[in-house]
């Protein structure tokens, strides 16, 4: 069954909404038997419990019927596209006061004036062929500017000929999933949206465990040929990959003939010391480096890039086809000017400052009001993980949602295949909330933090903190550099 789930937000709510749409649109006809939890969960890259919860919700709402022995089926008599079935005003989300889901930069901070100025300069300077059918590698102006920027800001070693522009990280991931052998290593925690893209492409995932020092690259399976890693800031649990583990990852790639896909989703936002350079710099022949504007400027631009080893460049370009089908040349030319004029550096610097202040506010409020919650993963990025005492995640989530907050539990980010690696129990013990602190304006965020700490006090109480589960764990008020 094909269902598209969004990148962010509650898996259960998104799946339930996709199922309702499938019934309403006639794709799931009355009487159809739904797939078992396990197989749909595998297809979509979500936890089995998420599917069970979504089915239960639709049974409760009358869309499905569940009968002993005949499984879950689409109910009879559900109106298919009634009188006026145009989609509602916005994608379905539970009603909420504050959206604290991770992954979004502050939309109000988009640099409108500077971007407009770059458009004007870039269009005036562009050669006529920029408005003809696009080169699938992307505009040369942008690839040149990116090669310089990435060398300077992220320690990436490349040139314009080995960069391919794409429509955000997801587009790059889809391209590689279609090209690489079937066995991929993935971190035991990651973005379910990415797991879903890999599953849709027929990838066989191998979850690599995470311990106190991040992903255990010494445990990368020999069978996998591609490893999707987040070395700058393990997503979502936090913490950069330690030097010894970086070496181990490169060693794995070299000895197995494999390739590492480095998802550098928020490498620009490091708060307490210098940015940790990209893994790619260690081994440009073994690492595909992927970045995008989705965290640093806006996910609405749909602009990203792959930096490719020589041996993969031709394949990726060929897979894109002889013409660019997706990314806007105007945005590409504009971003090239935005980079070269220094506007991008200025924007990132300003946002780093603002996000850091919000992070400090969150950490301080939690330390004061809910000391039983340990804040981790906050030395970088746009979100924090609030580690909770075992067994309290669902109660904490429920309390936060009742209080009007939209946010995710840490267990929603656990890869469905991770149980087999860890042993289900140990992995399930890691509980927490993933809190985005970038998406709201300062005033709203301050209010949301008040609501959050109130909800957590009621759910978790003010007990002693759990044992730290990672080096990125920080004493609450002064975040520990990692």
């Amino acid at each position: 069954m094909h269902l598209d789930l969004p990148a962010h937000g509650s898996r259960r709510a998104a799946l339930a909404q996709a199922l309702r749409e499938a019934v309403r649109g006639g794709r799931l006809a009355a009487g159809t038997r739904l797939p078992p939890y396990r197989s749909l969960a595998e297809d979509l890259g979500v936890a089995r419990g998420t599917v069970a919860d979504a089915y239960a919700e639709l049974v409760a709402e009358g869309w499905f019927t569940a009968r002993q022995g005949s499984g879950t089926r689409v109910a009879e008599g559900v109106p298919v596209r009634p009188e006026r079935a145009a989609p509602g005003p916005a994608p379905a989300r539970p009603a909420h006061r504050f959206d604290l889901t991770q992954g979004k930069p502050d939309p109000a901070s988009f640099p409108r004036g500077a971007w407009s100025a770059s458009v004007r300069r870039a269009l005036a300077a562009a050669p006529a062929d920029a408005f003809g059918p696009g080169d699938p590698r992307g505009r040369p102006e942008l690839r040149r500017a990116l090669a310089q920027y990435l060398a300077r800001a992220r320690g990436v070693r490349t040139d314009a000929e080995h960069i391919v522009v794409c429509a955000g990280f997801a587009n790059g991931l889809r391209l590689l999933a279609g090209l690489r052998p079937r066995d991929w290593a993935v971190e035991a925690y990651g973005l379910p949206f990415h797991h879903g893209i890999l599953a849709a492409a027929g990838v066989r995932p191998h979850a690599v465990p995470i311990d106190a020092d991040g992903v255990r690259t010494d445990a990368l399976p020999a069978r996998a040929r591609t490893a999707l890693l987040t070395p700058a800031h393990q997503f979502p649990t936090g913490g950069p990959l330690l030097p010894a583990r970086r070496t181990a990852a490169v060693e794995w790639a070299r000895s197995t003939g494999g390739v590492i896909l480095e998802d550098d989703y928020d490498g620009e936002f490091r708060y307490d010391r210098k940015p940790v350079g990209a893994l790619q710099g260690l081994a440009p022949d073994l690492v595909v480096y992927a970045g995008s504007l989705s965290k640093s400027l806006s996910p609405a631009l749909r602009l990203g890039w792959l930096v490719l080893p020589d041996a993969l460049t031709g394949q990726v370009v060929a897979a894109k086809g002889l013409r660019e089908s997706w990314t806007s040349a105007v945005d590409q030319l504009t971003f090239a000017d935005f980079l070269e004029s220094g506007a991008y550096d200025r924007h990132v610097r300003r946002m780093r400052h603002r996000y850091r202040a919000r992070r400090d506010l969150l950490a301080a409020a939690l330390a004061e009001r809910v000391p039983g919650v340990r804040v981790t993963g906050i030395s970088a990025g746009l979100h924090a993980v609030l580690e909770l005492p075992p067994g309290t995640e669902s109660a904490a989530l429920a309390a936060a949602r009742r209080a009007g907050l939209l946010l995710d539990g840490l267990s929603e980010y656990r890869h469905p295949a991770a149980g087999a690696v860890h042993g289900g129990r140990a992995a399930a013990d890691r509980q927490g909330l993933v809190v985005g602190y970038a998406g709201l304006g300062e005033r709203q965020f301050e209010e949301a933090v008040g609501v959050l700490t109130g909800a957590l006090r009621s759910a978790v109480g003010a007990t002693a903190p759990p044992a730290p589960s990672g080096r990125d764990a920080a004493p609450p008020t002064t975040p520990h550099p990692d």
Copy 2:
């Protein structure tokens, strides 16, 4: 075997290049047996002869070996990504002086100043949420502006709730191919790139014959549930769908429960009388109307739209996912302003005037110098079909290419499944050249026309014209309104 071929240009050259890349990139290993012509041709939606020619070319170049009884194989010892295997400076094309392939507007005419002004106004006016994760239906500002424009300019009946923005027509076609039942009706002539998209999605195509009055909608197969049609200007042979045939198409959809996908790829460019309104206006509940900026402004913007029947809207939105993955919000907001400020109407008017002058120049030059060639399909659009006497297409193409022209033969646009409908012979008799007259500047175009008529005189001679094969056929100097 997965290969991406470009939208335009020689199929054979593109396929040969994709195969070279596959060998060089290691996807086709030495000794691998290539698929039979027929199966690869079906996969890619190209003619069998195109595959045979591409294979022969690679055998001649030493990439492949062909031996009786063991088929075509990848040769041993071909260097896989030699020393420096970064892709060349541009997608491979035969060397040429003038590019007369169809499908491109004049890139030098992109309205840079007006577009920059729209960016500035649109960004200043946009709400903050425009820079957050995108609604998969597209920006509401653009959908409202499009609903008004399409009603006024194309007779489309819809509202903002039934429009879904997409990354050009190809994105819309992929979305629908993934949703609709497997059997599709397609016109016997069309764009091979689109045939390839449908084939990749597992669509079973049924080619509908074309006669002197265009596509025979009375012959739409009852088995198909979706019909891909070009009612404004049959692609590439020219001519609008006659009223009786429009009624027949709607009747087919109503009686079979089918849906028509109306590809209105160049509906704005009609030269000799008023535009022919969209078929969608006849039956908004049975027609998906698709348009894009690829012909009217630039294919580099990657911006298009689907106008959907109520019953399909939710399905298409659900298939896009809960977040926009492709189209840039900045381009969407800008185009909304460009439409509402009147800049789009002004641009289309100016380009209509310019393209019409180029068309007249082409028709007059051919009438004077090569009367044996009949020019058809020129009452609208950005290309003409030069109908040739039977059996002369390949000689004419070869002569044109020797003279330094890049252009396509009409037979490359024939759907591979069309033989079964027509009887191969009758269909193969329709021969000609497809000449784009929009992509070059005026001066270059004039020179290219001189080269073209010279090449055709040598290949076809100055004999009497063949019998007209369509109502859109025009007396050479004063195009007949159709």
